[in-house]
Amino acid sequence: MNGPASAVQCKGVIKRYGSGEAEVLALRGIDLEVRMGELLMLVGPSGCGKTTLISVIAGILDQDEGECLLFGQDITRLPADERTRYRGQAIGFVFQSFNLIPTLTAAENVAIPMLINGMPFESAVAEARSRLRDVQLEGREDALPTQLSGGQQQRVAIARAIVHRPRLVVCDEPTSALDGETGHKVMQVLKNVAVGSDRALVIVTHDARIYEFADRIARMEDGRIVSVEQAERGTKENVP
């Protein structure tokens, strides 16, 4: 049986914050497709709605209008707990500030998604150790986040995002806290481990140094997608 061709399919997504005179239209009718096997970057100035859009895509924020299908499924229609569980199985997250639990070792941090999905602690940590090797952190499994450099912490966060083999990984500014060289290495790791034929990767970034890793780049301005470019070929697609 063939699965859906799109990892994400957003149509006419509108998101408002506040109400009355204080209402802010964060997303103004977003149409966007994220294809299977691609790394899509969302770029644009601060406040243009990038983070709101990936929050909607990842199912942690509800849009007010429009629909956003995740692997062909509208998860906003699922009951709350089922939707949370779906998110736990299908989506991985990488955050700008890493969000590693400071009192847990690198391996324990990486094990969290599997523990949430019900795997026993020892098995989850063993799997996490293996994933840390994939991101070149062998020997640092028992280190606490404070004992790791920024680049190492972000690699732990990447291992955590992929350890349960999610079909979609969303990243918010994954390299903004890192120097150029480290950011480059982190992106290399991310692209190697998170992109596959049945998976997709969406990255929100300001960091032009990493654009080269993208398959496509969607530019946002004022709550709208203004262009989607094929990064390598540099060709622009029509945006309604």
Binding site: L61, T84, I101, P113, L115
Partner: protein, 385 residues
């Protein structure tokens, strides 16, 4: 995820010990203050508890509490002995007398006169000497607290007062008294020294009065219900007769209703509880707030509300259990230290421990509830902010 919850809690040792210390201190307040209050209340009827043998106390109807003995004629003793169902009845003198110390200082003391033949009502624990030595000429027995405290031999300049010893001589209302024993007695509400002697000798120490009989101690026959004998004594003699428990309760109620001790000490207990509850709740809530971002991360990663609730509940129960254990332990040490002291002391019983443990459990569960509410209302999208 339970292990993760515990590691989150235990991993930050500074914060963990802060929470535990706060709950331990709150628990200590909630156990120690009521414990001291119970101890003070139990002192109001400690004399009745010490005189354990009789079933019934017979007294003048005007008596309001145990230290308020209203003298009766000695002939009342014989009337009581004649009541049906009375196994035995013995006299007891209880009154305040002035004791002159070696340096001329006068100390008001509680003089107890025991039945000459049986010495019923005497102290149960003799530390030095024998109860039977009260039959020696001029013999008195002094309680430990009095012997080491207010009746201690006056110090010569630059030296500490020496405890009263067997063989020492006192003056009670200008009459000679020789210490033949030191006994352990329950601390009294007024914290006066207690001096035991025989009934006959007590009446000679007491200032000359026509009526000197304070109480008649009665044992009911084995086949007679105490309540029946009590009612019969009241009916036949016109005097008040109460079981030991009734007399304790009456004494306790009188002190409760006629002094401000409950208001004053009760206020401290209530404030202690409120402060303890507020401190415990606040520090646990702050712990959750400190970790709010990580709970949002869990939520985004697929942790259900039920899972988060159980994690927070586990953390709350653990800190509550450990904190209460430390607080109760510290209070037990305090109770053990003060147990032998005549002054400040506290009562630590299982009812108090159970009550305070329930209070701490309620507090931590309430704190957990507020924390859970905060976490459940949390939008997982904050992880990207």
């Amino acid at each position: 995820m339970f292990r993760i919850a515990l590691k989150m809690l235990l991993g930050d040792r500074g914060k963990y010990f802060g929470i535990i210390t706060g709950i331990a201190l709150a628990s200590l307040l909630m156990i120690q203050q009521p414990g001291i209050l119970i101890s003070i209340f139990s002192r109001t009827y400690s004399f009745i508890s010490d005189v354990a043998l009789p079933d019934i106390w017979v007294m003048d109807p005007m008596v309001k509490y145990v230290d308020d003995s209203q003298p009766m004629l000695d002939t009342q003793l014989y009337r009581v002995r004649g009541v049906k169902g009375v196994e035995w009845a013995v006299p007891l003198y209880k009154g305040n007398q002035r004791v002159r110390l070696g340096d001329g200082q006068l100390v008001s003391s509680n003089l107890i006169g025991l039945d000459d033949a049986t010495l019923i009502g005497g102290p149960a624990v003799m530390l030095k000497g024998r109860l039977a030595d009260l039959r020696l000429p001029d013999a008195v027995i002094v309680d430990e607290a009095g012997a080491t405290g207010r009746l201690a031999k006056p110090a010569s300049p630059g030296k500490k007062a020496e405890p009263l010893q067997v063989g020492d001589i006192l003056e009670i209302n200008d009459k000679r008294a020789r210490v033949v024993g030191i006994a352990r007695a329950g601390a009294t509400f007024q914290s006066q020294p207690i001096i035991y002697t025989t009934y006959t000798r007590a009446t000679t120490y007491a200032l000359s009065e026509r009526k000197l009989l304070s109480y008649i101690l009665v044992k009911a026959k084995a086949d007679e219900p105490v309540a029946n004998v009590t009612a019969r004594i009241r009916h036949d003699t016109g005097m008040a007769a109460r079981s030991a428990d009734e007399f304790k309760d009456m004494t306790f109620q009188y002190i409760l209703n006629n002094t401000s001790i409950l208001t004053n000490f009760g206020f401290v207990v209530v404030v202690g509880f409120i402060v303890g509850a507020a401190v415990t709740g606040q520090i646990f809530y702050n712990f959750t707030l400190d970790n709010l971002r990580y709970f949002a991360v869990f939520k985004a990663m697929g942790a259900t509300d039920r899972m988060l609730r159980r994690m927070i509940l586990l953390q709350a129960l653990l800190v509550g259990f450990v904190g209460f254990g430390l607080g109760a332990g510290a209070t037990a040490v305090f109770a053990a230290i003060t147990r032998e002291r005549p002054g400040l002391s506290m009562t630590l019983n299982w009812q108090l421990l159970l009550g305070s443990s329930i209070a701490v459990a309620v507090i931590v569960l309430f704190a957990a509830l507020i924390s859970v509410r905060k976490v459940l209302k949390l939008e997982p999208a904050v992880v990207f902010k």
